[in-house]
């Protein structure tokens, strides 16, 4: 069974073209992963080798957050471990979130804003098929961006691990984060934007709305510094499960709310 018919693929490729031609979308789609997977980790690595670990403020408190398996690590290694597992996951999750939001905003809201959605809805493609093509297109592009980013990030981390004589950074947390949490966040962001497209008047407004999605991720990872909890693979699996359920609910509502009349209002 084909996932997309040739007509739907035509819409998907047109959407990719729209994203590519849109300077803002294109730059965000490249800049965010570039910053999160290359610039920030490389900058951190350089910093780590130039600043003595005993001069880092709050080092004592930070080391208390180290799990038992990282107890043998020296000062530099401990800082690298902490940042890799406490801070970088938060940065990494911004990639599926922003890329999915950008793709969905471009294919739903910009199309509505430019008056081309109405023309598309006048074709024999049903509203549901237009919705499906746009959602799957957004998910595909976002997933591709996330996967490439993960590869780049892994290379930078591997270099860091080699330089610091540490084992490879990839652990259960990261595996759950990449294989479970990132996909459900991608789907959630695309569906959320699709859902808001019926209400949003402009692209700017939709981007502002998508900002709300960043907040829970920041809170989840920054909350670890209170020492009250630690984000581990089990917790991430639970969150993925909850988001998966939310995706199903959002999908149900989006399909119902995605009607020509509501979209063109």
């Amino acid at each position: 069974m084909k996932i997309l018919t040739s007509e739907e693929k035509t819409v998907v490729f047109k959407d990719f073209g729209d994203i590519w031609e849109n300077k803002t979308a294109r730059s965000i789609l490249f800049l965010v992963p570039f910053m999160m997977t290359l610039v920030l980790p490389v900058f951190f690595l350089i910093l780590l080798f130039h600043v003595p670990s005993d001069q880092i403020k709050g080092m004592e408190q930070m080391l208390q957050l180290l799990p038992a398996q990282a107890a043998d690590l020296n000062g530099r290694q401990s800082v690298f471990y902490l940042v890799t597992n406490l801070i970088f996951p938060m940065f990494f999750l911004m990639i599926p979130l922003t890329s999915a939001s950008i793709c969905a905003a471009s294919s739903f809201i910009l199309e509505k804003e430019r008056g081309t959605l109405e023309t598309l809805l006048l074709t024999p493609l049903s509203v549901k098929r237009v919705f499906k093509a746009k959602v799957l297109g957004g998910i595909f592009l976002s997933a591709l961006t996330t996967a490439v980013s993960f590869l780049l990030f892994s290379i930078v981390m591997a270099v860091g691990d080699l330089l610091l004589s540490m084992p490879f950074y990839l652990n259960w947390n990261w595996l759950v984060l990449f294989f479970f949490l990132s996909p459900v966040i991608t789907v959630f962001s695309v569906l959320f934007m699709a859902l808001t497209s019926a209400k949003s008047v402009s692209n700017t407004e939709s981007f502002q709305t998508s900002g709300y999605l960043v907040l829970p991720i920041v809170l989840l990872f920054m909350g670890q510094f209170t020492g009250l909890y630690q984000v581990n693979a089990i917790l991430l699996l639970w969150i993925s499960g909850i988001l998966f359920a939310a995706d199903l609910v959002l999908c149900f509502f989006s399909v119902r709310l995605f009607t020509a009349e509501k979209l063109l209002r």
């Binding site: 073209g17 729209d18 109405e118 598309l120 074709t123 024999p124 509203v127 020509a260 009349e261």
Partner: protein, 305 residues
């Protein structure tokens, strides 16, 4: 009996539940007709097009395109009809050719079929020379012509056109009109033309619906409409100066006029004048214009409300 292209039964639409943008619209348009849906801005013309294409759901009543309900089967309706509305735009970043190929492929044509059809249409609308330019660089008239081409790419049986020549220069308007007339005459395409330009509608349509404030005031061909509003046919004669026929109204510059109940009365009237010794230099049979009918209707309905 010819097939019914558009059928509407008490079709109504209210956006807020209080005010009706379209109220109790009932009409039947046979296949092959060029129907003018006339009314001022805000009369409900665009709402009617959106209801007929299934982009809006009616608050009350029903409609069908060649027997298919746009509410239940909008995709099937879209296969049969091409629609041009003021708000349905095409992709500015794509060229004219790319736009037509895209919409052709979305309809289900192969790329080769799309290219062939696009080539024919672009040439018909005199857009061939700008086929590889981005739509964003097109003038309003060119963009409108491209929208017409887009609506025709799948050879529709019905064209729903909302103000197709609004904002167009004379040349572009003429091109659109010629295309529309040819389609109706040669290919039997039904045209539902929404416009507020009465003279324009009179030139191209063979039946009319006059709508105001969401309500249909009258519907029919020019003859039946003029009968409905009581504007008769008129005979006008230019006679030799100083001649004064009885039972005729004196107009200006030597012209005399008289109402006729039907066209057939004209030869007798002319013969009577000549046999009575009047020198007739010119004779004219004057049909009431759509404009006369429209304003008379608005005046009547205004008085009623």
């Amino acid at each position: 009996m010819s097939e019914i292209a558009i059928h509407a039964q008490k079709l109504s639409k209210s956006y807020n539940g209080a005010v009706y943008a379209l109220h109790d619209l009932s009409l039947e348009i046979p296949s092959g007709a060029v129907f003018g849906f006339l009314g001022p801005n805000g009369a409900g013309k665009t709402t009617a097009v959106k209801l007929l294409t299934g982009l809006l759901k009616p608050t009350d009543g029903s409609c069908a395109i060649f027997g298919i309900s746009p509410v239940k089967k909008p995709c099937e309706v879209h296969r049969l009809c091409g629609a041009v509305t003021e708000t349905a735009r095409m992709y500015g970043r794509l060229t004219g050719m790319q736009n037509l190929i895209f919409f052709g492929q979305v309809i289900g044509l192969t790329k080769r079929e799309c290219r062939q059809r696009a080539e024919t249409l672009l040439k018909s609308f005199d857009l061939w020379d700008v086929r590889d330019k981005c739509l964003s660089s097109y003038s309003t008239g060119m963009a409108q012509c491209l929208s017409m081409a887009r609506a025709m790419i799948a050879r529709p049986r019905l064209l729903l056109l909302d103000e197709p020549v609004s904002g167009l220069d004379v040349e572009s308007a003429l091109r659109v009109n010629t295309m529309m007339t040819n389609l109706a005459a040669q290919e039997g395409v039904t045209v539902f033309l929404c416009t507020h330009q009465l003279q324009y509608a009179q030139n191209f349509c063979n039946s009319y619906g006059i709508v105001s404030k969401g309500k249909m005031l009258a519907c029919g061909d020019l003859e039946s409409l003029s009968r409905e509003v009581g504007i008769p046919l008129r005979a006008r004669f230019r006679l030799r100066e100083g001649q004064t026929p009885k039972h005729m109204e004196c107009l200006n510059d030597g012209w005399w006029g008289s109402d006729l109940s039907e066209e057939e009365d004209m030869p007798d009237l002319l013969q009577n004048l000549v046999s009575s010794g009047f020198d007739v230099f010119e004779a004219q049979l004057v049909h009431p214009s759509l404009e006369d009918i429209y304003f008379k209707l608005i005046e009547w309905k205004g008085e009623e409300t």
